[in-house]
């Protein structure tokens, strides 16, 4: 199974930054109704304008959960502008795996939720 590289399975079984923030500055939830994924992202912005904490929760497949886990690692300490500039290519290079068309949606859902969570911060 090339798609399930060891690192993807590792992030799926032991996701980083999974859970909730008590007082997030922004949050958002999206569903992928085709396969039954649900992802919530919560984000806290520090005094320096950078991400001080980011957490995700919900249910999803290995690809979407690993993508969320890796993505939250990546954006810790980044500014909102830097997060809004992230593209699908950035997610693919984190996952480094062959994705069929139906799995691309799973991989990209966390980024979409994260950027909506960033937009919801005030």
């Amino acid at each position: 199974m090339d798609i399930y590289r060891e690192i993807i399975l590792e992030h799926y079984k032991h996701p980083h930054n999974f859970g909730h923030i008590s007082h997030p500055n922004g949050s958002h939830t999206l569903y992928n109704s085709a396969c039954g994924d649900k992802i919530t992202m919560e984000i806290a912005i520090g005094k320096n304008g950078c991400v001080s904490d980011v957490r995700f929760s919900g249910e999803g497949c290995a690809i979407s959960q690993a993508s969320a886990s890796m993505l939250t690692d990546l954006v810790l300490g980044k500014t909102k502008e830097e997060i809004m500039k992230l593209t699908s290519e950035d997610v693919f290079s984190l996952l480094q795996t062959e994705l069929t068309a139906s799995r691309v949606k799973c991989a990209l859902l966390p980024l979409e939720v994260l950027q909506k969570a960033v937009q919801s911060t005030v």
């Binding site: 039954g36 649900k38 497949c61």
Partner: protein
């Protein structure tokens, strides 16, 4: 029933992907097509391509005869009259036709329409959206923990305000076979004016269905789930009701006279088939019906019952597998929904695909049911005439592989 011989009738089963055969366990989504159906469609393209009705030449008369012949075959298949058979695009369109034409006729302020929690979206959303527009209210029939309709609830769901009960004959997720005949009798006893509509998309392809015997008022189903092509569906409505229904779509063929000031509509069933129909689709469906009748619908049902019994036995003895559906094969159609502990269904399907095992995962167009079950998504394996116990064995092996990978 000679499954090995049947498998030879399905050209796609000769295909190999990455040197391995295809284990097709997704007939609930769409069935494979036998050569006889493909040839029937090709026959229309190769020998008598012409529009139906009013063509005063040989090919058009042949096309009309083939199209109407298909209608007669479908009618006889469900013990109906050809004039009650409307060709549509699919079961969804059939149910929309019903909802759009019948709700304005019968639903008044504070009337109720009953559907069930285990409906496919196509028999849920049209009612949910349209009934309130006419002042009516929806009531949703729950299931028990045994995955069957809670029959004790019937007397509180159906009363003198109830104008329509619309329900599936077989759940496309749980596989539950609904006792439609018995329930219809009970419903009509409480509310004699109440119409009973049936989503037969998962019943007509898999078991004998006799609309006269069921005592229902309408039945919708799709051609592509019963060995026919996609794009052709059927709506049967009892003649006394069909005669009172206004047209759904206007246009060619559905009229008998058009004047600047007024239009008179065509006779049944043509009043409900505006425009050039899907001629080759109907002809393909007719060939599919002939193919199924040749096997015999009792044999089809018995074959699937055997496979379900075998698969339920195997799956329920595995650890980490949860089955969503009745354990009794007598009331369980050829579809099994399940989840593997700690493994998302999407990942299950992806790993099974490595072995060319085709299952479906997600909500299966039944989100209200999944919410009621309290689960995100499920895996679904389904069987038809070309499946064997060795397909079930392959599925079980595949599941063990998935569990090992994610264990």
């Amino acid at each position: 029933m000679d499954v090995q011989k049947i498998q030879k009738d399905f050209p796609v089963l000769k295909r190999q992907i990455n040197g391995k055969p295809i284990i097709y366990l997704d007939s609930t989504a769409t069935s494979l097509k036998p050569g006889a159906v493909i040839e029937a469609i090709n026959g229309y393209y190769n020998f008598y391509t012409a529009n139906v009705f009013r063509g005063i030449y040989t090919m058009s008369e042949e096309a009309t005869a083939a199209y109407e012949g298909a209608r007669a075959k479908v009618a006889s298949f469900i013990h109906a009259s050809p004039s009650e058979i409307i060709f549509t695009k699919n079961a969804s369109e059939s149910l929309n036709l019903l909802a759009y034409t019948v709700i304005p006729m019968v639903v008044k302020k504070n009337d109720t329409v009953v559907t069930t929690i285990m409906e496919h979206h196509s028999n849920f959303v049209p009612w949910q959206q349209l009934v309130p527009k006419y002042g009516g209210k929806m009531r949703v029939w729950d299931i028990t923990k045994d995955f069957v309709l809670d029959e004790k609830k019937l007397s509180s769901l159906v009363d003198s305000t109830t104008k329509i009960v619309t329900l599936t004959a077989v759940s496309n997720v749980l596989g539950t076979i609904v006792p439609v005949k018995k329930l219809t009798a009970q419903i009509k006893k409480i509310a004699p004016q109440c119409l009973v509509f049936v989503d037969g998309a998962q019943a007509v392809p898999h078991m004998p269905v006799d609309v006269m015997d069921l005592g229902v008022d309408a039945l919708a189903f799709s051609g592509h789930k019963m060995l026919g092509p996609t794009g052709i569906g059927v709506l049967w409505v009892k003649k006394q009701i069909l005669e009172t229904m206004p047209p759904f779509l206007f246009g060619g063929d559905m009229i008998s006279e058009v004047h600047v000031e007024e239009t008179k509509f065509n006779a049944l069933p043509h009043k409900f088939e505006a425009g050039t129909p899907y001629i080759e689709g109907a002809i393909g469906l007719g060939a599919a019906v002939s193919y199924l009748e040749h096997i015999g619908m009792d044999a089809v049902r018995n074959h699937e019952k055997e496979l379900v019994m075998y698969a339920l036995g195997k799956l329920s003895s595995m650890s980490g597998v949860t089955i969503y559906g009745p354990p009794d094969p007598e009331i369980h159609g050829g579809v099994i929904a399940f989840r593997l502990d700690g493994i998302h269904p999407h990942d299950v399907a992806q790993v099974l695909d490595e072995e060319n095992i085709c299952i479906r995962v997600g909500y299966h167009c039944a989100m209200p049911l999944h919410e009621a079950l309290g689960v995100g998504a499920t895996c679904r394996a389904s069987f038809y005439v070309y499946n064997t116990k060795s397909d079930v064995d392959a599925l079980i092996l595949g599941i063990k592989k998935v569990q090992k990978l994610f264990g």
